[in-house]
Symmetry: C5
Subunit: 373 residues, 5 copies
């Protein structure tokens, strides 16, 4: 019922490499899945796709084609990473970062290659993120993903159909297209969060339950995750746009600028949702206080009306000898009338205080106004 | 009664283009309205206005006049956008942004043209925003609006009357005038928000109801929307002022600086209202607590006065055999007097505590002081 | 009693000029007061003061003297502003800002003249601000004020007495002296706010009433107003200090730096008061909670002590036939003793919980400690 | 008992000079104490110390020695300040700042001299600050203090003992040593605040009373004072380090950098304490709420158990004729048993809700865990 | 049970050197432990390790080897620090900082040497930090630690095994490796904090007790400590990366950049935890309010149902003479039925208000939903 969710389960955050050991040591996550390698090669002379390619095939592919894209899904085998690093001359420090899957998004310049880490958002309750490590070199792009499953299928289709817009350009354009696909993947996640915000807003305003607060808390956790993923991503893309590099053409930078705009837009929305979530907490807490007020008013009204009446009754329940009222002919009805007057007086008092007497009509009107909002 | 409003309904935020597809793909919003094209051409040799012009007319218009302004209302037809792009050589990435109507305000330099996105605020409950995409080239301005309805009618009148101040200058001055009209359109919206702030302030201070908090929440949502629209607008205008460009003369930049001042003023007011709104939430919550205190005091006073009296009465309602008081001649009146003394003692105690005894006069005086404020 | 005040009444914030109209259009506020012009001229050959001078007199005055200061109080007549602009060559965009009296403080360079907007704080409940527009040109200073009433009388006296320190320097020094007088005028306002802070602090700590919170809210509103006035003023003065300009000598910039220091000091104090005000809200809210606790404790103690006693009494008020206690000789006194023991036990329980039994002495001591603070 | 203190009494903040008067006017505080002048002169030819020196002595001292330090305690006589200014050629604007004792710390370059304002913290409840104005010229240092009492005695001892480390260097090194002594004087104040934080933390966690909140508020006030004193001091020292000046050698700047580190450390601690203080307010407020919960539970349990029992008793206290239970042989004991069962049932209900039945053991264990923390 | 901990005990923060004394004075902490010196020397001609080396040995070691690392554990003897300073020419101001163990992390350039202060986090309840002072000169690294116990053992092992990656490079690489080991040591601490966050989240959401808030407060204190340690560390490492220095090769700077990334990641996580902790306080406070609501509802329901019933009973317990109901044949059962009807009516009223009647099933379902989260 409530769009609440368990807050993100924190994942292992330590580096697997023990402190003080040689940097560049490659140790795979023992729980990582086995790598699946898929490669595309293309150029003026035609294109080719290899699935589950051996490392030797890749070396050959690179020779045969002007442009090569190798994608590795699953980081369970450090050997594959190391060998690929040898074939394409990837920098050891960057390779260590590939296996250490808790990197923030970043761009690093190594001689003759550019290393980009991006984080992909995975929908779910709670949200999670996946690391994409991307190497851009002259004529090749290598990508490593922690798990299978990405947004790149339309790109693969465009490669297979040898779309000139994509295949007629350099490796930097492919790298841009991959980063753009990652950023485009943020939008459905944000849209989903937007729907959760709306549901929680509806709940907090009109029928708050403790679950509502849990839901707001869970959403705040997810928004923190989004911020942690997108903020550095934004900076990284900005770094690609701002700084001239030999490996990236001016035209690709123009496209990257478009991509940068999208990251700004995502951050903007996420911050917006955070502001609304904070406001919802206030709404929720005030509604709890309002209810307490309601409860206390009912208690006070009932108690305050009956306590004096009971007192009168108990006075005439006393067993004193000389109580003349008891023998009066109209003693009993007079007492009942007196009780009625006391009760009416108290009701009048409460109405004047505004605790009672907003009749059903007033309430109904107010409720309808709330609903209209 | 309460100036509260439903928080902004989140609109679709995803790009309509699937992730990974070719950038520059133009896909119109299927729910967009059909484009209405209106064009002005003018120059030393006179002026002309075309309504519902065909695209061929526009190409001819451009030939006939030194200066051209084409405005398109409604983005339901990607074909119109594409063709206009061809006639004036608009950049494909910018055209994609035209159709993707959730852009933040921004300025982008493309070769031989300047692309500006601005957001217009649309009054209403809740507020909404409309995108204005503006291309400035040598001798022409092209504007695309999501929906019909804008602040540009005085400008059109000035064009029709061939006002020298406007028609004797270049296309950059027209672009400035359009942006200035957008920014001027923020002021009535802010004024309206200012009135809502005042009403909510009045309510929160003097007669808070749950609707007040809903109203504050709705207003905060609208202020977030204003910030999301105006902040990037401010940056965009600042970018136009700060940086020299071939397409914009120094004189126009002086005018744009004036326009920048207005965006700063709008942000300033919006931030001011946000601060007041936060303060109002505190006021509201404290007033709820105050009421609870009031309720509890009444309950406590009534209960505490009558409980001992009832106890005394119930003691003399016991049926023990040997209760000498019951047979005393003045037992009953003595008991009543004792009860009266207990009640008076308790009233005295509560007065000393300050829970009672601020008589009607004191309350009236305080109330009048509050009202005076 | 409470230094609370109604929050600043928002004034009209829209530009009077309709959106889209020609910039530089001068439209006076229809509610503005009629302009009163006062001019000083001085130089090596002596000095002169004109009150209610006609515009022709001013043109002549400018010819006669090396240095001229024209001050206009009241902006109800756009014609006066326009004519003055023609006489001294004031820039149309700046003149529009003169009439649009909701400008933020700013410095703008126009060819051959410097345009400064400053905001003067007007004491009162609530605070308000007045706009001072100042033009500095070679040999002349023109000032426009929204309303009569300023801090410049000592300056006028110095001009009349032909004080060499002031009259022996250029127009830039007079402009500095005017700005300095505006900034010096902030200090009494801040001092007044400081006294309100102290009073509210005293109230919130020792005898909080709902009016206290209203007072804090009103003070926060006034502090926002101060910030909105002084922050841009600080930036404007900083801009005058930092940037070399032909119209301002190095010596005057040294004096302006002193003036900048004062704006920094004012902002510093205002921020300080804001922090204290936020803290006061917490104090106030916690004191409300404390009182609720007190009320509830009294209710609980009284109720909890008497409820069991009343229960015992009502048991022996039952009319069962076989109730042996009723006929015991010492039944009644034994019951009274039992009741006393129950009451004593409960009192002991509450004392151990710390809800009772801080005797009058302890309270008095604590109160005196609070008072000492 | 509580380390609370009355918040800083605001001192007069206005400039004594009326707005619009000639800058550089020297007006002494009428309540200032009479100046006490103490001077040191030293150089290759030996050293000398003058106490209560006349202004003529100072002029002579300056002639006799390569290096001179003049210290003035008390600013009650503008004449002394003016004369000293003439002897050493101090700038009039700076001298005005000397007498205006509410300056923020700052560094100002005047021709041939450097003017530094520093603020010294004075321990006490509440904290207060004292202004130190320091002029550094070629071969001389002049210092003005608002009140007697400073941290400079070790420096004086080093001068008297003609310590080569100090006396063998220039006036800039003495200026550094004075500033360093001021900054070192912040540490005991911070240490004292640290102890107050610990005491308040202890109180708020384990035995919160209203005084605790007052103490937190007073501490926040003192921390604001520290921030207002130290933050500009940090900036001022940074300005001395960053910028090369003829009057300050590179070696002295290295020492000043050390001093800058200390100001950073002080700000760091003060911010830390502010964060803790905010957290303590939350703790305090939640503890009040917890107590209210406790009170309400006791009330609810007692009331809820006895109300049904009293109801049963009052039913059998009715005087109806046909109440068969009253004449049953075991009516009375059966009723008592029924009452016992009802009470037991309610106790069981409250235990299941967790409001009762955490026995003494559980409470003791939890208390010990809290104490252990 | 609760992962709460006593907040960090503030340590002495004052400098041991009295204010005004000569900078560079070395005074050891009287409670410091005796220094233990361990040195490594290596180079093309082989390596050597000295434990508890005398200062003469160190001077000789430096002669024998191209590269030397001297580590000192314990700062209880200022003499050792002074002598080491003489052997390696360490700057006096830096040596003073070595003994003053409350430095923020920083990098300082002294002629011919680089001085780095780093802070190591020590796990525990509460967290604490240890200072590492590191000097980098041509061919040597000197490190001083406050206490024994560090993360450097893997490094020592690599030195002993003469690993070429480490021993074949310069002293700057060793300095990097030491700093990197310090930064790597932050990760387990953060992971531990992450587990505490999860436990507190679980507690605050599902079974909040006062200890939970204490735990959150303690964790916030630890996070402040982490921030105070890591933030300057990040800046210091950034300073090493950004600025070219003769003592650090480009390759080492590449490695330091990797290290900088890790400090950013640590800060990122710490800020994340702080945000979650703030959210937990809200959750905790709202859960207290919810419970109060529950308590009050039970009280209100029971009281409100029985008070009218008791009133009815006490009416018929009155001893008036003429009460016809008392003698009616069905008076008693009719009264019981009337009471039952009143009770049912009230139950119905409460159910409609939603205070009762969410049956056990609904509660169980909601509870399971909460648990599922």
């Amino acid at each position: 019922m409530s769009p609440g969710a368990r807050p993100p389960r924190k994942r292992r955050i330590h580096k697997r490499v023990p402190p003080g050991s040689r940097p560049g040591t490659l140790i795979a996550d023992p729980h990582g899945s086995a790598p699946v390698v898929r490669a595309f090669g293309w150029g003026p002379g035609g294109g080719e796709e290899l699935v589950n390619a051996s490392l030797e095939d890749l070396a050959a592919l690179r020779q045969r084609h002007a442009l090569v894209w190798v994608n590795v899904d699953g980081l369970g085998d450090a050997q594959v990473v190391r060998r690929l690093g040898e074939i394409f001359g990837l920098h050891p420090l960057a390779l260590e970062d590939v296996l250490n899957t808790h990197q923030r998004a970043k761009v690093e310049d190594y001689p003759g290659q550019l290393f980009v880490v991006a984080r992909m958002l995975q929908q779910g309750m709670p949200l999670s993120t996946d690391q994409l490590a991307l190497f851009l070199g002259p004529g090749w792009v290598i990508t490593f993903q922690e798990h299978a499953g990405d947004n790149f299928d339309p790109l693969r289709a465009r490669l297979r159909s040898r779309e000139p817009e994509l295949c007629g350009r350099g490796a930097d354009y492919l790298a841009y297209a991959l980063i753009d696909a990652v950023v485009d993947g943020y939008f459905p996640v944000l849209e989903d969060l937007g729907e959760r915000v709306e549901k929680l807003e509806e709940e907090a305003l009109h029928r708050p339950v403790p679950l509502t607060l849990h839901g707001i808390h869970a959403m705040k956790g997810d928004l923190l995750l989004v911020r942690r993923a997108v903020w550095p991503m934004r900076e990284a893309v900005h770094g690609l746009v701002r700084q001239e590099r030999a490996l990236i053409t001016a035209d690709t930078r123009l496209h990257l600028n478009d991509c940068y705009d999208h990251t700004v837009q995502v951050m903007d929305l996420a911050e917006n949702y955070r502001d609304i979530a904070s406001s919802l907490v206030e709404i929720y807490l005030s509604s709890i206080s309002n209810r307490l007020n309601e409860v206390m008013k009912v208690l006070t009204i009932i108690t305050t009306i009956f306590i004096p009446l009971s007192f009168i009754a108990s006075v005439y329940g006393m067993n004193f000898r000389g109580m003349p009222e008891l023998s009066w002919e109209y003693g009993y009805p007079a007492t009942l009338v007196a009780m009625g007057l006391v009760a009416l007086g108290l009701v009048f008092f409460f109405r004047r205080k505004g605790w009672m007497g907003r009749g059903a009509r007033e309430r109904a009107r107010e409720q309808s106004e709330i609903d209209r909002l």
